[in-house]
């Protein structure tokens, strides 16, 4: 049995060494198949929800709900200079960062696609790139094609895969974050910093990428060697990490006069910052969805601790920070911050690879959650926003 496995592994490595192009082609094909399968999955369960409600099936553009509406507005008319949305006229789109709407804008502006549909199509496209990017990130941990299928499936059938079909920035964020970690592990410092810069222009938590970047460079060189070796490329990378957010903040300063408008605009949602432990504790006390969201954060932190134990310090710290930052405000939306992080799926990948018997259990959990979330999304529930 072990001999057979070893033979398969050596065969896989042989294929890998025969030609670098063969694997990317296979990865592209695999990603494509998984995106289509993911799309069929989402449309099917959405259709069930529509049957239940007796309403006609969703058109693709109608998957654009909640935050996607904000993205659609940005795609259509850019950012507003003053808040004017909502019942109190105090809501603005400023905390929806620009890279995702910018990426969907050509579809809308040049091809006349409706803004909501453009966002949905863009998020689906970025699901494809997210799978590809994750496959690249875990390449060194893959032994054969079934590992690649496992890794790709984790992204395509993420428990919260609905966000990749609903016009959200999650799939783009995941693509860039996975690429950033892939570059980082290969010591491509400037490229990794550039990925960090793009990440910080996609979602606010993306700016946390600067921390694993610094940790990786310090682990590699140490502070004294880093200075002695005059590694300018590492300094360029560090400064690139928050550059996307910095550019956006400068733009907002020019537009609104308030560089921190993305943070300040949360006032319209009644969100204030506080002690994350107290906020998680309160979530646990509340019950129902709030308790579930709080538990999701805790599970994410457990995964982060496990990654640290596996000496994957950069990913562990990044995952922990990406949960900690939103946890200082609220637990709502926490599943997005946990399940759409490459380190989280990387931890799941390593676990399932190490303990294959868990794969069936995880598949049941992820499939069940994904189907439930699609159903809830389709009936307009705010349990998944």
């Amino acid at each position: 049995m072990n001999q057979a496995a070893a033979a398969t592994n050596s065969q896989a490595r042989e294929i890998s060494s025969k030609g670098w192009w063969k694997w990317p082609v296979k990865e592209v094909l695999l990603s494509l198949i998984l995106v289509i399968a993911s799309h069929v999955f989402v449309v099917s369960f959405s259709r069930l929800a529509q049957w239940e409600r007796g309403s006609p099936a969703h058109l693709l553009g109608e998957y654009c709900q909640w935050d996607c509406g904000w993205y659609a507005q940005i795609i259509q008319s850019g950012y507003e200079s003053q808040p004017h949305a909502g019942g109190s006229h105090d809501a603005a789109s400023w905390h929806f960062l620009p890279l995702f709407p910018l990426s969907a804008m050509p579809l809308s502006r040049w091809f006349g696609v409706a803004p909501g549909l453009a966002a949905v199509l863009a998020s689906k496209f970025f699901l494809f790139t997210a799978i590809l990017s994750f496959l690249w990130m875990v390449r060194d941990d893959r032994d054969n094609l079934s590992d690649a299928v496992l890794a790709g499936t984790l992204v395509a059938f993420n428990p919260y895969v609905i966000y990749a079909h609903g016009g959200y920035a999650e799939s783009l964020y995941f693509t860039i974050a996975a690429a950033g970690f892939a570059f980082l592990s290969r010591e491509r410092w400037v490229a990794s910093g550039l990925a960090g810069g793009l990440l910080s222009a996609t979602r606010i938590v993306g700016v946390a990428f600067v921390v694993p970047y610094v940790i990786a460079s310090l682990r590699k060189y140490g502070i004294s060697r880093l200075i002695r070796a005059q590694r300018l490329d590492i300094f360029v990378g560090v400064l690139l990490c928050p550059a996307g957010l910095s550019l956006y903040l400068l733009y907002l300063y020019h537009l609104t006069g308030d560089a921190l408008a993305p943070i300040h605009s949360f006032v319209a949602w009644g969100v204030t910052s506080g002690n994350p432990v107290a906020i998680i504790g309160e979530g646990l006390r509340h019950g129902h969805w709030t308790r579930y969201w709080a538990w999701t954060a805790i599970v994410g932190w457990i995964a982060s601790a496990w990654l640290a134990q596996q000496r994957k310090i950069e990913m562990a710290v990044f995952l922990a920070l990406c949960i900690l930052l939103p946890a200082t405000a609220e637990v709502g939306g926490m599943p997005r911050f946990v399940w759409w992080q490459p380190p989280m799926l990387y931890a799941v990948f390593l676990l399932l690879k190490r303990y294959p018997r868990l794969q069936m259990i995880y598949a049941a959990f992820a499939g069940g959650m994904a189907a439930t979330m699609v159903f809830l999304w389709s009936i307009g529930s705010n349990a998944v926003v």
Binding site: P83, L250, Y253, T256, G257
Partner: protein, 212 residues
């Protein structure tokens, strides 16, 4: 000996470092120097106000600031330290600061009478609160949780255009589900440009009683 391409690469990287440092420093400057209206600053940055571009309705100061009504009178520029509207009026909220009140767009000089319909939260019951109008201030003891009428006399020597309540300390949270730190429930405040004794029957509410 460095090759010319290595020199070029190093020069490019140095320029990039300088440009990126410049970018981040510019952002730091922008963060520290917001160019926003006082209303925006109070509502979004300091979070001391719950009124963002309120509708303004026309009434005279003596008719009063009716806080059970949506919006603010046209003689009020802005409120601060005051929570959202409820059926009776609005609570002050020390979570927004120890000062709660109104900036007026007209000023008052000479004798002024404030007629207020107020109620205390449990933590403020039988506690003193300072009621400041311009540079004059008076102590007021609120001895009822239900809404009662109170009247205070002022003699303004210089133009007064701020009316505020000053709380001695931050109050406890209203409840586990209500994080506000409510102090006074304000239903209405009338501003009369004369002494309270001369106001007489112009009291707001059914009965006016002198401040203790």
């Amino acid at each position: 000996m460095l090759s010319s391409s290595a020199i070029m690469r190093t020069t490019l990287r140095i320029l990039l470092v300088i440009a990126l440092l410049g970018l981040h420093l510019s952002v730091l400057y922008a963060i520290l120097h917001p160019k926003v209206s006082p209303e925006y600053k109070a509502y979004f940055i300091d979070r001391t106000s719950r009124d963002w571009r309120p509708q303004h309705y026309h009434v005279l100061p003596q008719e009063g600031i009716d806080l059970s009504r949506e919006g603010l009178p046209d003689f009020v520029d802005q409120s601060y330290g005051i929570s959202v509207r409820e059926s009776f009026g609005r609570w002050t909220d020390t979570a927004m600061g120890l000062h709660a009140g109104f900036r007026l767009n007209r000023s008052f000089t000479g004798p002024v009478c404030l007629k207020m319909r107020l109620g205390a939260s449990r933590p403020m019951l039988n506690q003193h609160v300072v009621v400041r109008f311009g540079d004059q201030q008076k102590d007021l003891l609120i001895d009822q949780t239900s809404l009662q009428d109170y009247a205070l006399d002022y003699e303004e020597s210089s133009p007064a255009h701020v009316l505020e309540f000053v709380f001695p300390k931050e109050l406890p949270e209203a409840s586990a589900n209500d994080r506000r730190r409510v102090g006074l429930g304000i239903a209405r405040i009338g501003i009369f440009p004369k002494a309270c004794a001369a106001v007489g029957e112009e009291c707001i509410g059914s009965a006016c009683k002198p401040a203790k």
